[in-house]
């Protein structure tokens, strides 16, 4: 028996992906044409410059944790976008940036991102490859090492942006105990409470994805963000329609969203 090339059970998934992609492409096109696209203020991001400036004034390094997930995780990709902006600013201020990694593939990407950011900031000379290093793939081995870095290097600013698991509170608590200003962001719902409790600013869920667009103002990121917003509007409209129809006993609409 050969496998099917096209699964009709997942037609709704295809439609969803096509609509979403079309919206993204449309808004990216609009942004590239030069259309002004508004993005509301995100509190945590307003503090990024302040946090980097604080490290510069204190003459202490910045610690950037890009999460503990792999490079294919959306949160890691969003984190790398923000890392680029942080690294550029840090390079311009000549502030040391430490990026310990737990994933061996994320590490070279971080190195590339920081190197490009230093170049972009006009300071390729301040790039220090030895500050972006691999520790271990073990979750708590990594945490033990990062805690050690926090208490010994005493970074003035800690960024925890990306995907986190049970280590989030240990990292954030140790960072808070060293007196560092802390900016966190993750789409891991179960870890957000810990960051909200122990960090100065927290990017909640999708704010992490919006952050890179907000910081960079690049047409590609802004267009993507707009596309996502419109997708949310459509989702909201569809959910309301489904709720109204279901209230009157009509479940056929909701059943269209069943996936195989």
């Amino acid at each position: 028996m050969g496998q099917e090339w096209f699964s009709l059970d997942r037609l709704n998934v295809l439609i969803g992906v096509v609509v979403y992609t079309a919206l993204l492409l449309y808004f990216i096109y609009q942004a590239k044409k030069g259309k002004e696209l508004f993005v509301r203020k995100i509190a945590g991001l307003e503090a990024v410059d302040e946090a980097i400036g604080r490290a510069t004034e204190m003459g202490k390094p910045i610690l950037y944790i890009p999460g503990l997930s792999t490079i294919s995780d959306v949160a890691t990709l969003a984190s790398l976008n923000i890392l680029s902006k942080v690294a550029k600013k840090a390079a311009q201020y000549e502030t040391r940036l430490i990026v310990p990694c737990t994933d061996p593939i994320v590490m070279p990407v971080c190195q590339e991102v920081v190197k490009a950011a230093c170049l972009d900031g006009g300071r390729p000379d301040v790039y220090r490859e030895e500050d972006i290093y691999y520790i271990t793939y073990s979750q708590f081995g990594y945490v033990a090492a990062v805690d050690g870095i926090m208490v010994r290097e005493k970074p003035a600013t800690n960024f925890f942006l990306g995907m986190f698991w049970a280590e989030s509170l240990i990292l954030a608590e140790t960072g808070a105990s060293t007196g560092a200003i802390q900016i966190a962001g993750t789409d891991a719902i179960s870890q957000l409470p810990f960051f909200i409790t122990a960090c100065d600013y927290t990017l909640i869920g999708e704010e992490l994805y919006a952050a890179s667009a907000y910081l960079s103002r690049e047409p590609l990121s802004l267009g993507s963000l707009k596309g996502q917003d419109w997708t949310k509007l459509i989702i909201g409209g569809l959910v309301l329609t489904g709720v109204i129809l279901s209230t009157f006993g009509l479940r056929f609409f909701a059943n269209y969203f069943t996936t195989g």
Binding site: V13, F38, I71, P108, G141, L192, V239, F257, T259
Partner: protein
């Protein structure tokens, strides 16, 4: 007191105490345990990757079964090592690009299915149900009241929370009101999650203390 004669239990207990000593402040015992942990885990995962991925997924199919297609992922993996040669370090970007591309391509349909469509379907519930209303009227209790308001609360919560993550408009007027309600829903959820996880962490601590008191010192059964 019935001290354990097992040297491995002693080692585990002493390392546990070394790690806990960090609660006081950074010290040489913690540093020793930290470096041991990091070094051991790095070596351990190297071996794990060799036996769980490289050997069964590349070495065996390529060299024992003659599956030549495995050369492609093998080469992509080897490309990472080009980073050690600055002149051709750019070759490693091919592997990274392939990895990110495949990862994104595989995760987009799965995310659309599980995190969007299924969630949408789950939210499309009747806002008001006569059945739960009758149950509440006939047997007014906290449980029946919860069943009555549960779904309307969920729908309002979803819509308001969704509006909080709308970035294209300032959060003023109706959108501002909705997003403020949304953030309240979020914080209530986070609070519940926080309490639940703290309880789980305390049970981990209990497990460790039990190990020290029972397996090592033997002061409790």
């Amino acid at each position: 007191m019935n001290l354990s004669p097992d040297p491995w239990v002693w080692l585990a207990a002493l390392l546990t105490l070394c790690i806990y000593s960090f609660l006081y402040k950074d010290n040489p015992f913690y540093k020793a345990a930290e470096h041991l942990f990091v070094g051991l885990s790095a070596g351990y995962f190297l071996v794990i990757y060799w036996y769980n991925a490289v050997y069964p997924d590349m070495v065996v199919p390529l060299f024992k079964q003659g599956k030549l297609l495995c050369i492609i992922p093998g080469l992509l993996g080897l490309f990472f090592f080009f980073r050690f040669i600055p002149k051709v370090g750019w070759v490693s970007r091919w592997s990274i690009a392939f990895y990110i591309g495949v990862g994104a391509g595989m995760s987009i349909p799965a995310t659309m299915q599980m995190r969007i469509l299924e969630q949408m379907k789950g939210t499309m519930q009747p806002f008001f149900s006569l059945e739960t209303w009758h149950v509440f009227v006939e047997n007014p209790s906290l449980a029946s009241f919860g069943a009555l308001i549960g779904i309307p609360l969920m729908i309002v919560g979803v819509m308001c929370t969704l509006s909080y993550f709308f970035f294209s408009r300032e959060h003023k007027g109706v959108l501002g009101g909705m997003s403020r309600i949304g953030i309240i829903f979020l914080m209530i959820g986070f609070g519940a999650s926080f309490g639940y996880t703290v309880m789980a962490r305390i049970s981990l601590l209990i497990g460790r203390v039990q190990f020290l008191m029972s397996d090592w010192l033997g002061v409790i059964d």
